[in-house]
C-alpha cells in the first residue's frame, strides 16, 4: 500500500517543492483556504486524529481551545524528538518536509495564527537543513509570507533549534526554551492554548501529527476514519529498534499487532540469530515494559491498556532472551536522571537515587533492603511532579520489578546468571 506519511519512500525527491506539487502537494491547503477555519477544524476533529508525540490528545479538539478572535496566535511544531527509541520525525523533516509545512499551514489557518515555529532538537541541524530548504522554497513560491496562494491568509515560518534537552519535548518546556529560558515546564494551567508562546494562545503539535493533516483535508474525515480502530484512526509511524533483523521506521495502519510488527518479513523480520523474544518497551524508555503475552495486542492508543502499558510515540524497543532486565532499567533511569530538568525535587533527587541504587544492584553489591528502597523512591516520584518525566522515569523500574522479580532477587543474592551480560 502507498504510504500516507512516509511518501518519500514511494516518490523520489518529494522533498523538492515541484515534485511535492506534482503529486498533489499544497492542494489540501488550497482546499482549506476555501473553507472557513471552523470547518477545517471540524474535519480534523471528525477524523479522530490524535497527537502522535505520545500523549494522544485529540488534535482537532486542541485547536478549538484557542480563544476565538485572539489577535496574536502561534503554532509551534514539536520536532524535539528525543524519546529513547524514537526516530520518525527526523525522517519526515529530512525527506518529506513539505507535508509537515502544509499541515502546519492548515493548522495556522484554522486557529488564526500568523507565525509558525518549528522547534527541532539541536542535534537535528543536519536533517533540519532539508527542512530549511523547503521553507525557503515555500517563500519563493508564495506558499509562505503575505497572501498565501492569492488568499487573505498570511503566515510566516521559522525553523528553530534547541540545544540538547529531552524535556523540551514537553510543550511548556519547549515554549520556555523558545523564549530563551531554561527548558523547564510550568505548572498548568495556564495551558498553551490560552497562554503559550510570549503569553499568547499557542498550538503545539507534533511533527507527525501535522503530517497527517493534508491528507485528512484532501480526502475527508470518513476516509481517514476508515483506517484503524474506533479510538485510534489512521496511520502511525512505528520506530522499531533493538533486537530485530530489520530495525527502522514502518508506517502501519493502527490495529496491526506487535507480533506482526516484529516477525513479519515486511516489518522487523524476526529476532536475530533465531533467539527468543523476552521483553518489549512499546514507548521507548518512558512506557512500562511488557512480556510476550502482550504481543498479540494491537498497536493502538488503547491496545496495551490491559497489559499496563501504552503505545505512546510507538517507539518499540525489542529485547531478546539474553537481555538483563536490571541492566535495561538502569539504562533507562540513567537517561531520565540525565534529562531531569531539576525543577521538581522528587524527579531531580529521585532519579539520582534510583540510578545509584540500580548501579549498586546491577553490579552485584545490592541488598534486599536496596531493592525495597528502590521501590519506595519510585513510589515517591510517581504523581508528584509538574510534568510526566517523573512518571516516565519510574515505569522501566517498577515494570521490570513486576515482570521479572527473580532477576532483581538473583542480583541482590549475588547469583544472577545474567551478571555482566548485556
Amino acid at each position: 500500500m502507498a504510504h500516507i506519511l512516509l511518501r518519500h519512500r514511494d516518490i523520489e525527491n518529494i522533498k523538492k517543492l515541484d515534485v511535492y506539487r506534482q503529486h498533489g502537494g499544497y492542494e489540501a491547503l488550497k482546499k482549506a483556504l476555501t473553507m472557513t477555519p471552523a470547518e477545517v477544524t471540524n474535519v480534523v476533529k471528525a477524523s479522530g486524529l490524535r497527537g502522535r508525540g505520545g500523549a494522544g490528545f485529540p488534535t482537532g479538539l486542541k485547536w478549538t481551545f484557542i480563544p476565538k478572535g485572539a489577535q496574536e496566535v502561534y503554532v509551534t511544531i514539536n520536532s524535539d524528538e528525543s524519546e529513547m527509541g524514537t526516530f520518525k520525525d527526523r525522517e519526515l523533516l529530512e525527506y518529506n518536509p513539505h507535508q509537515v509545512i502544509e499541515g502546519a499551514l492548515i493548522c495556522a489557518y484554522a486557529v488564526g495564527a500568523k507565525r509558525i515555529y518549528n522547534y527541532m532538537r539541536g542535534e537535528f541541524m543536519d536533517a533540519g537543513y532539508a527542512f530549511e530548504e523547503a521553507v525557503q522554497e515555500c517563500y519563493a513560491a508564495g506558499l509562505l509570507g503575505e497572501n498565501i496562494l492569492g488568499s487573505d491568509f498570511s503566515c510566516d515560518m521559522a525553523p528553530y533549534y534547541g540545544a540538547g534537552a529531552y524535556i523540551c519535548g514537553e510543550e511548556t518546556a519547549l515554549l520556555n526554551s523558545l523564549m530563551g529560558e531554561l527548558g523547564q515546564p510550568w505548572s498548568k494551567p495556564p495551558f498553551p492554548a490560552i497562554e503559550g508562546l510570549y503569553h499568547k494562545p499557542t498550538v503545539v503539535n507534533n511533527t507527525e501529527t501535522l503530517a497527517n493533516v493534508p491528507a485528512i483535508i484532501s480526502n475527508g474525515a470518513d476516509w481517514y476514519k476508515s483506517m484503524g480502530t474506533e479510538k485510534s484512526t489512521g496511520p502511525k509511524i512505528v520506530c522499531l529498534s533493538g533486537h530485530v533483523n530489520k530495525p527502522g521506521n514502518y508506517e502501519v495502519i493502527m490495529g496491526l499487532t506487535y507480533r506482526e510488527l516484529i516477525y513479519d518479513e515486511q516489518y522487523g523480520g524476526g529476532i536475530p540469530g533465531g533467539k527468543k523474544f523476552k521483553a518489549m518497551l512499546p514507548s521507548g524508555g518512558s512506557g512500562p515494559v511488557v512480556k510476550e503475552d502482550a504481543l498479540d495486542a494491537p498497536i493502538t492508543y488503547e491496545g496495551l491498556d490491559k497489559f499496563g502499558s501504552v503505545m505512546g510515540s510507538a517507539s518499540v524497543v525489542i529485547m531478546d532472551e539474553t537481555t538483563d532486565m536490571v541492566w535495561m532499567a538502569m539504562k533507562c533511569v540513567h537517561f531520565f536522571k540525565h534529562e531531569s530538568c531539576g525543577k521538581c525535587t522528587p524527579c531531580r533527587e529521585g532519579t539520582y537515587w534510583m540510578d545509584q541504587l540500580l548501579h549498586k544492584i546491577y553490579h552485584g553489591h545490592g541488598t534486599a533492603e536496596d531493592l525495597r528502597v528502590l521501590k519506595s523512591v519510585a513510589g515517591q516520584i510517581g504523581g508528584r511532579t509538574l510534568c510526566a518525566l517523573g512518571d516516565f522515569a519510574i515505569n522501566p523500574v517498577l515494570s521490570t520489578i513486576r515482570h521479572f522479580p527473580e532477576e532483581y532477587e538473583a542480583k541482590v543474592k549475588g547469583n544472577s546468571p545474567l551478571n555482566g551480560n548485556r
Binding site: 527509541g85 517563500y139 515560518m157 530563551g180
Partner: protein, 187 residues
Amino acid sequence: MTFTEKYAAEIEGIIARFPHKKSAVLPLMHLAQHYYGYMSDDAMREVAAILDLDPTHILSLAGFYTLYYEEPVGKYVLEICNDLACALRGADQFVEMACNKLEVGVDETTADGLFTIKTVMCLAACDRAPMLQCNLKFEEHLDEAKFDALLARLREQAAAETIETSVVEKITAYAKSGNQVSVIGNR
C-alpha cells in the same frame, strides 16, 4: 575579529525571526560556540551584550543544554549514543573500542587536540546503531573499520586544513538578513 563582527548579518537575521530578541539566545550561542570552539567566558559575555541579557543567564543556559561545551573540546567532537536502543546493538562496546583506539576516556580530548569523545543520550537514529554525531553530522551503521575510516578522513582534513562548512554555518546562512524568511520580525 569577534564573532559579533564576523557574523553581523546573520545575527541581525536571527534576531529578526522573533518578536522578542531574547528568543535568539540559543541560536546565537550555537553560532558563538561554532566560532570560538566552546562557550568561553568571552563568548558568553558577547552573546549577553548583543541581546542585553545578563551574562549569568547565558551561563545558566550553557549549563542546562548539553550541546554547549563549557570547556574547550577537540576539533572534532565524537558524540556516541549509548542509550538503551543503541546499546542493544553494541554501542557500549563501540564506546570502549573508540576510547581504546584514541587512548582517551569519555569526555577527554586526544593530546593532538583533534578528538573529544562524549557519550550522549538518544540521537534518534536507533535503527542505525552504533552511531555517533561528529560536529553535529551523523555517522551511522558503524563498526571498527568504519570508525577507522572516519578517523583517517578527519585527520586528513585537519592536516590539509580543509575548512568544511559546518552544519551551524549552513543553517545560519539561511537566517542572514536579506533572506526572505528573516523579514518576519517586522510584520
